[in-house]
């Protein structure tokens, strides 16, 4: 059924990686390429890979920035294991990324940057382009992009430095030619962005973009072109969205289901800062945002806002989670609604602040003193952040409890096309209210959910005092031994009962078989793709991805027991595996990776095959 385009080699999916110096605009061209693929439409997944927070000197290894796009005519769940094409804008980019390029892959190199100085900075002793092996192992396309850009713009009123800045669009134009992509989306983007304020820049970029494209067409340098047909896409309205964006939209949409206002209070930290930044642009939705003095204050403001009747939300990454832990204990003890987002990054300590990891799960579970259980939900993809935010808010408000949302850098920064949801798909949720006509008892509980009902300051008759000391049903400080045990158990049982409100687990593949691959968070794509492919090859492999990490779903145990083996791939040392093993005494196997990078599909495939006796 695939439509073959003449002159193109047909592929089901293709992975392209742009790599260059942080000053080279690789993120921009990556996003443009994504947009033009989305419009085809193709299924896509992306992986922006920034350098460390601080600009490294131009041309050095730490300064390399990359953006990978995976586009295809079938479902695409990961940005791809190995790029089919690498566009390397300088020696350092080549050095860092060449090893990943698939054997025989397309290798576009900007030869104009292979100066002795740049080679030295990249740690090359000789010019790798001189190595005849290179063109044997890859489809090498050396282009002096620097020179050609200068040439194209020789009439431009821009200064030389600014002219050279356009060279990323040359690379993009050439790539468009290789994959037969239209230029319109990008030219429109350029003119919207620069035409008004910097018309010369707009013109130059468009010129260079086209030059790149035409260079492909006219030069003899490269003959192979590849195409990917349109993907079958569910009808609807789409937009491209990143994980952090989807999270913010999910919160706003969910709050709209309640009568409550949102107060978001944060402190900047990579990769959570953009949540605070985006929320601050939603003021017309009545969301108040506070940039607090630190993470402790940030959660404190949120707790105060929740006490005053709003829904307090705070977001951060690992180091900030440490700082919020004492306040989480207070919110648990006072049973206030609250959402705490942790966009995970590589740890411990400052760790790898711009790399992804899933190593804060056990912290989310246990990172507070005393018996202090909290529900935890995790997002598995950028789009999934929307329903996850919604679910977190539902749990927080229905049960009056803090809820932790685990995202990660890979999910937060990744972008994908998002079919706008019909909000009616989402369950409405009622807010517990104190019974009228009775003296208010702050810790009286709904018999079913065990949730308490809030008396909101400003409301006559509900005056009461909250605090972190142990209390009884009336909210009075109470040191009685039996009361403490009972309250501790009630708080735990309330959290346990949340599992009664979950949708049933989804198993991808047969409900029983040899191996179940169990995952959570941003590993969804790799896990699902690996197990799907193996199923197609006839293996009895299914996969299941947990949205709820605490409490675990009621139907999880039966699911796990329906398989001979359970494999749990995680970007940590086996944190979910430890919970599963302890709870069900099932000998689940861990697959771990702690490289600041997502799993490749092959990593998981290999681990599954290892479990299946051949």
């Amino acid at each position: 059924m695939t439509q073959v385009t003449p002159g193109f080699e047909e592929r089901q999916s293709i992975v392209v990686r742009f790599a260059g110096d942080s000053g080279d605009g690789m993120q921009t061209v990556g996003e443009r390429f994504t947009d033009s693929s989305v419009m085809v439409p193709n299924a896509i997944a992306t992986f922006p890979d920034f350098p460390a927070e601080i600009r490294a000197p131009a041309g050095t290894i730490p300064g390399v920035s990359a953006f990978q796009v995976h586009f295809g005519s079938r479902e695409i769940l990961t940005p791809g294991d190995e790029p089919d094409a690498l566009i390397a804008m300088n020696p350092a980019a080549l050095k860092v990324h060449l090893d990943d390029l698939t054997q025989g892959g397309l290798l576009v190199v900007n030869t104009g940057t292979f100066t002795p100085e740049n080679l030295k900075m990249a740690g090359y002793e000789t010019n790798p382009l001189d190595d005849p092996d290179l063109s044997k192992r890859y489809e090498l396309v050396p282009i002096n992009i620097t020179e050609l850009t200068k040439e194209t713009l020789k009439e431009s009123p821009l200064k030389t430095r600014d002219r050279l800045r356009c060279k990323n669009f040359f690379a993009l134009g050439f790539t468009y030619w290789v994959y037969g992509r239209p230029l319109e989306g990008t030219t429109k983007f350029i003119s919207e962005k620069w035409s008004k304020k910097l018309p010369d820049v707009a013109n130059a970029n468009v010129q260079v973009l086209k030059a790149g494209y035409f260079f492909g067409e006219t030069s003899e340098i490269h003959r192979n072109r590849y195409s990917v047909t349109k993907a079958a896409v569910k009808p609807g309205t789409y937009r491209k969205i990143s994980g952090n964006e989807a999270l913010v939209l999910g919160f706003v949409a969910a709050a709209r289901q309640t009568t409550k206002e949102l107060v978001y209070s944060g402190y900047p930290i990579t990769p959570a800062s953009s949540i605070l930044e985006m929320v601050s642009t939603y003021k017309h939705f009545g969301i108040k945002s506070v940039q607090a003095e630190d993470e402790i204050a940030a959660i404190g403001v949120a707790v105060g806002a929740s006490f005053a009747g709003a829904i307090g939300i705070t977001g951060t990454s690992g180091p900030g989670m440490c700082l919020k832990s004492e306040f989480m204990g207070l919110a648990i003890s006072t049973e206030l609604p609250l959402v705490i987002v942790n966009v995970q990054r590589g740890g411990p300590s400052t760790g790898l602040p711009t790399k992804t990891e899933q190593s804060d799960l056990l912290q989310a579970m246990f990172g507070r003193h005393g018996e202090s259980p909290v529900p935890i939900v995790a997002a598995m993809s950028p789009c999934d952040c929307f329903p996850v935010a919604y679910e977190a808010l539902r749990i927080a408000v229905t049960y009056n409890t803090p809820v932790i949302v685990l995202s990660d850098l890979y999910v937060a920064n990744g972008a994908e096309p998002w079919r706008l949801p019909d909000l009616d798909e989402f369950e409405k949720f009622p807010i517990p209210v104190p019974p009228a006509g009775e003296p208010y008892q702050p810790f009286a509980r709904d018999p079913e959910t065990l949730a308490r009902a809030l008396g909101i300051p400003g409301t006559p008759g509900f005056e009461h005092r909250l605090g972190g000391l142990e209390k009884n049903t009336k909210g009075e400080v109470c040191y009685e031994p039996a009361n403490h045990e009972q309250m501790t158990e009630l708080r735990a049982e309330k959290i346990n009962r949340i599992a009664n409100s979950y949708a049933p687990l989804i198993v991808n593949g047969d409900p029983e078989g040899d191996v179940l691959v169990l995952g959570w968070g941003g590993t969804y794509g790799a896990i699902t793709s690996a197990s799907k492919t193996l199923r197609a090859e006839g293996y009895k492999v299914s996969s299941c991805h947990l949205r709820h990490l605490n409490p675990l779903p009621n139907d999880l145990e039966a699911t796990l027991r329906s398989f001979k083996d359970v494999l749990i791939p995680e970007l940590n040392s086996g944190q979910l595996a430890m919970l599963i093993r302890s709870k069900y005494l099932i000998d689940a196997k861990s697959l771990t990776k702690m490289m600041g990078r997502p799993f490749r599909i092959a990593d998981i495939r290999d681990a599954i095959l290892n479990l299946i006796p051949s």
């Binding site: 059924m1 419009m39 439409p41 079938r74 349109k230 993907a231 079958a232 009808p235 609807g236 309205t237 789409y238 937009r239 939209l249 706003v252 949409a253 709209r256 107060v263 209070s265 939603y282 003021k283 017309h284 939705f285 009545g286 108040k288 506070v290 607090a292 003095e293 204050a297 940030a298 959660i299 404190g300 403001v301 949120a302 707790v303 105060g304 806002a305 006490f307 005053a308 009747g309 709003a310 307090g312 004492e326 306040f327 207070l330 006072t334 909000l423 008396g455 300051p457 400003g458 006559p460 008759g461 509900f462 005056e463 009461h464 005092r465 909250l466 605090g467 972190g468 000391l469 009075e476």
Partner: protein, 346 residues
């Protein structure tokens, strides 16, 4: 905050059923009494008060005020109070803290609530000791204080709470003391009247771990000589017979005998809390015994928009600009594209 309750409130309305659990003789009782007297007179409905605190003897306060209250965690009251006020600017928020809670663990939050000018009334109970944890020195203990944790005497310079507040450019700074209910009540009312953050230091006695710490200032024998009552428009006179005054020698304050045989009263500084320049507040705040009398009353009162009102204003103007956001406008943006039914095979 402007509506008045139907029946006039009285002190009794703010007394809770809880047993008050301070040591007999603790200065906190008198402060509680004063605040319970003040609240009914502010024209604020009972349910619109929120009393927030951290942890410490002083921070038990909310339990004893019959309105909304929140006994939070050590040092973090300012953050919670800010959240309450941001969420609902109509509430009258009172923050109770101690010298340890507010100036040791909570110093940063105090700094930031002061500089942000959140319209919260802050009462810092300064007993120069950690009461609740049974007697360690605090950041306001004078050098040389011997406590359980400083058996050879403390070595670090104490924080002067008012100089700290001035350093944060707080808009309302005052001091009162626990043995003068009238002065406390008047100070609390002024704090309430101020639109913006109000910082009130209350000299407080801990009978158990630091008894009589303030006696050199307000003890029966000393108070007539030591206390300098600040009254707007009045000269800075003190002493039993109001025969001593504060004058300036260059940039150094001096106390002089006034009247017969001394300095003329016209040279005595006249109190003006509304001066925008901080030099005057600095002068008052740095005056400490034994060299100087101890000023009590309102040191500084200047105007600046409050944080929460500016936050709300931005919401208003965003709405004026973009309209009240609907869920549709949230999801649908210019970058959207539509895929029609059956458009593609696959």
């Amino acid at each position: 905050m402007s509506t008045t309750a139907e029946e006039p409130l009285t002190k009794k309305d703010f007394v809770t059923a809880n047993d008050v659990r301070w040591c007999p003789g603790c200065g906190d009782y008198a402060i509680l009494n004063s605040l319970q007297r003040t609240f009914p007179e502010l024209g604020v409905p009972k349910e619109n008060f929120v009393v927030v605190s951290g942890i410490g003897c002083s921070s038990r306060f909310p339990y004893y005020m019959n309105t909304y209250g929140f006994h939070t965690i050590h040092g973090r009251g300012p953050a919670v109070a800010t959240g309450v006020k941001v969420a609902n600017p109509d509430l009258s928020v009172w923050l109770v803290t101690g010298d340890g809670d507010g100036l040791s663990i909570g110093g940063n939050h105090l700094l930031h609530i002061l500089r942000r000018n959140v319209n919260v009334n802050i009462l810092l109970f300064n007993n120069r000791i950690y009461g609740l944890t049974k007697g360690q020195y605090s950041p306001t203990s004078p050098v040389g204080t011997r406590t359980k944790s400083t058996p050879m005497g403390s070595v670090d310079n104490p924080i002067n709470p008012l100089l700290f507040a001035l350093g944060a450019e707080a808009t309302f700074i005052a001091r009162t003391y626990d043995t003068n209910v009238k002065h406390m009540t008047a100070t609390f009312k002024a704090a309430h009247a101020h639109q913006g953050v109000s910082f009130v230091e209350i000299l407080q006695n801990c009978v158990i771990f630091n008894d009589k710490t303030w006696n050199p200032v307000y003890g029966r024998q000393t108070r007539d000589d030591q206390l300098l009552f600040l009254e707007p428009g009045q000269p800075l006179l003190f002493g039993k017979d109001k025969d001593r005054g504060v004058c300036l020698n260059g940039l150094v304050p001096e106390t002089r005998h006034i009247g017969a045989g001394g300095t003329d009263i016209s040279e005595v500084l006249v109190h003006d809390p509304d001066l925008p320049s901080g030099l005057y507040t600095q002068m008052l705040a740095q005056m400490t015994y034994p060299e100087y009398p101890t000023p009590v009353g309102i040191f500084r009162r200047i105007e600046r928009p409050s944080y929460e009102s500016e936050v709300s204003n931005q919401i208003e103007s965003a709405r004026d600009q973009f309209g009240s956001g609907t869920v549709e406008s949230l999801l649908y943006t210019d970058d959207c594209w539509t895929v029609e039914e059956g458009e593609f095979d696959g």
